[in-house]
């Protein structure tokens, strides 16, 4: 489904190279975890997948469902099935959450040639998904993410994800900031979305999340390169020994 080949990227403004040759292949149905020290380029990779303009790809390519992802606008990528759950979801004052959800959902439906969802159908859908994730109606009445606690923001991201039903879910540290119960609720929400047609890239610092969302493959990213790939036991090993060995390798 997704193939990243020799991806090099730098910060558009100042030219610092952040990604230094990433190769990653993710098949439908798989869950890949990406772990790695602070500043190694994990969020950068997720932003580049979503289409953020702050980064410039200098080499390599990204093929998604047979299409060249780098040629597509962020909204086209979303409609094609890419979803990034942000490490730091942004507050948008003045944009009502419900209005935003409806606009996003209908924009994607339109891009896919589907009819617009009626308001009652939309409301029903949101209520159902929100209840699963313990997102209250009160939160949905507020402007987008405004005044949400850190954990509430993360849950709201997963709510968006379950509404938009992407084929590639990129979760950037969705677990940080979540309390133990919220971690379980969010993980259940994510696991519910697991299916043979959908792939996930889960970025995390903690093995704990991977107890809930069990990955097929674990990668270690260090200094802009994938320096180690293994099974879920790799996460356990990292938890025990840290990244020291791999930082040397990079």
């Amino acid at each position: 489904m997704l193939e990243i080949k020799n991806l090099h990227a730098r910060i558009a403004e100042e030219g610092t190279e952040i990604l230094r040759g990433i190769d990653l292949k993710v098949n439908a149905g798989e869950i890949h975890a990406i772990m790695g020290p602070n500043g190694s380029g994990k969020s950068t990779l997720s932003y580049i997948l979503a289409g953020k303009e702050d980064y410039e790809v200098t080499e390599g390519e990204i093929i998604f469902h047979g299409q060249n992802l780098l040629d597509m606008e962020p909204d086209e990528r979303a409609a094609a099935g890419v979803f990034l759950a942000f490490q730091y979801p942004i507050e948008i004052p003045g944009v009502a959450t419900m209005e935003f959800l409806k606009t996003a959902l209908n924009a994607q439906r339109k891009a896919k040639g589907l009819a617009q969802l009626s308001i009652p159908d939309f409301m029903k859908l949101v209520k159902e998904k929100a209840a699963d994730l313990n997102v209250t109606m009160d939160m949905l009445k507020r402007p987008l993410n405004v005044g949400f606690s850190g954990g509430e923001k993360k849950r709201a991201e997963i709510l968006q994800m379950s509404l938009l039903e992407p084929s590639l879910c990129v979760l950037d540290e969705t677990d940080s900031g979540l309390d133990i119960d919220a971690l379980r609720i969010v993980s259940e929400g994510v696991n519910k979305l697991r299916n043979p047609g959908r792939a996930m890239i889960v970025i995390t610092h903690y093995q704990r999340l991977l107890d809930h969302i069990v990955p097929d493959v674990v990668h270690v990213l260090s200094k802009g390169r994938i320096v180690k790939t293994g099974g879920k036991e790799l996460a356990l090993e990292l938890e025990k020994n840290g990244y020291a060995d791999y930082i040397e390798a990079a």
Binding site: A50, G51, K52, E53, E73, P74, D75, R77, A78, A79, F83, L84, F86, P89, I90, I92, P93, G94, V95, E99, F100, T103, A104, L105, A107, Q108, A111, P143, Q160, L164
Partner: protein, 439 residues
């Protein structure tokens, strides 16, 4: 002994003086009114149109903008008025009363005079009232506006308008739309007096329909708000207009009263909404809001002076401006607090969103405080659309243009929401969307 220095007149100034000589015999008014008109024309002759070296017009040089002055619009044909009104749908869905001023003169037969009368609202023709106004009281000017050139222009040429009086205690059941209709090119110059009696309540919507061509619209609203009364005004200056749109508010707010106004401007080449508000009684509130949009070489100017002449009054000024292309925006706001006006609370904020690289905003909030026990604050911001917000929306599948619209709407709707007059919200938001779509 030197004679007052004669300025050399621009084409527009010469046109205006010639227009005055032609029109003065036909313009309404008692002898006192006519004398005032002549004095006002004399002011134009000696000082010219307001220009950038006049402090209040530093950013809005009317003299440079007006290349010529069109004649006053002729008397309107009733059928033509009906046609313009039929095409004007801004508030079509709102149950309201309507008063029509056509080509500068009140048109009673197109207005809901009888229905308003039945509710306790008396409507008179401003031109007829001027004829009977032996002391020229209807043209009285507050001190803060006495030097204003746009007001002088209005006094010289005022064709007509309405005098609307809400009797004491009357709560008018529907909003009243006062619409200025132009059926053909030509300047329109009107003045309207709105008297809201003690404890009375009125919601007023001011709109413009049709085109004045290159002619200017110079419209003055003189609000006299009684004790314990409420007046809420929504002023819409919308649509491309070649001629300058000049709006002036003169407001006197009684005790324990509430005055709210939202000035909404989108589209004209030169739009100025200037407001002179004074508190005349204690424990009152004045809430002034502005939503301005301009593109191309357009200018949107919101200028105001709020005089806290008495203690215990609150004023709020909240203005939003969106500028694209090379457009210019102006906010000049001054809160004056007199020495004895203790316990004044004034909070002024102006915020601009610049969509175009060449767009420019002049923000000038000012406080002039002579009392010591007051709470006054002001702020000004000016910035671009936040790219991170835009990216977040786009990452959810919302195309760029739609995402921008959402963010601009969000920016502007803060003022519309705080205005809290729900019956106009939808119409205003539609107008914002229309403007963003290029209208």
């Amino acid at each position: 002994m030197t004679a007052p220095t004669q300025i050399s007149h621009t084409q527009a100034e010469s046109d205006l003086l010639a227009r005055f000589d032609e029109a003065k015999g036909a313009l309404a008014g008692s002898t006192a009114v006519k004398d005032l008109r002549v004095a006002a024309a004399e002011q134009i002759k000696t000082r010219g149109l307001p220009h950038r070296r006049v402090e209040e017009y530093k950013y809005s040089d009317l003299r440079a903008f007006m290349k010529s002055a069109a004649p006053l619009a002729p008397k309107a044909d009733a059928a033509a008025v009906r046609a313009v009104l039929a095409a004007d749908e801004a508030f079509a869905g709102l149950t309201r009363y309507r008063l029509v001023i056509a080509n500068g003169s009140f048109l009673a037969e197109a207005s809901d005079v009888a229905a308003l009368e039945a509710e306790g609202v008396v409507i008179r023709d401003f031109a007829a009232a001027l004829d009977a106004d032996t002391a020229a009281e209807l043209l009285a000017t507050p001190k803060s506006a006495s030097q204003d050139g746009v007001l002088a222009l209005n006094t010289a040429f005022v064709q007509g308008g309405i005098v609307l009086s809400v009797k004491d205690g009357v709560e008018v059941s529907r909003p009243v739309e006062l619409v200025h209709v132009s059926t053909e090119a030509g300047a329109i110059v009107t003045r309207n007096r709105v008297e809201v009696g003690t404890g009375a309540n009125l919601k007023l919507i001011e709109t413009f329909a049709g085109s004045t061509g290159a002619g200017e619209s110079n419209v003055v609203f003189d609000y006299q708000i009684g004790d314990k009364a409420t007046l809420a005004v929504t002023r819409l200056v919308v649509g491309a207009s070649e001629g300058a749109r000049l709006l002036t508010t003169l407001a006197k707010v009684g005790g324990e009263a509430l005055f709210k106004i939202l000035g909404f401007m989108a589209g004209p080449a030169f739009a100025r909404n200037q407001q002179f508000v004074a508190f005349a009684g204690e424990n009152s509130d004045a809430k002034l809001y502005g939503v301005s949009m301009a593109r191309g070489n357009g200018l949107a100017d919101q200028t105001l002076i709020v005089d806290h002449a008495v203690p215990h009054c609150n004023s709020r000024e909240f203005f939003k401006t969106v500028l694209d292309d090379e457009a210019r925006g102006v906010y000049q706001g001054r809160i004056n607090v007199a020495q004895h006006a203790q316990k004044t609370d004034g909070e002024m904020m102006t915020q601009a969103l610049l969509l175009g690289e060449g767009a420019e905003m002049a923000n000038k909030p000012e406080l002039e405080i002579f009392a010591d026990d007051v709470l006054c604050a002001h702020g000004a911001t000016s910035g671009q659309i936040d790219e991170d917000l835009l990216f977040y929306l786009r990452a959810r599948g919302i195309p760029e243009a739609e995402a921008r619209t959402l963010l601009v709407m969000a920016f502007l709707s803060e003022a519309i929401e705080e205005f809290e007059e729900d019956y106009v919200t939808e119409a205003l938001e539609t107008r914002v969307r229309d403007w963003l779509a290029g209208a």
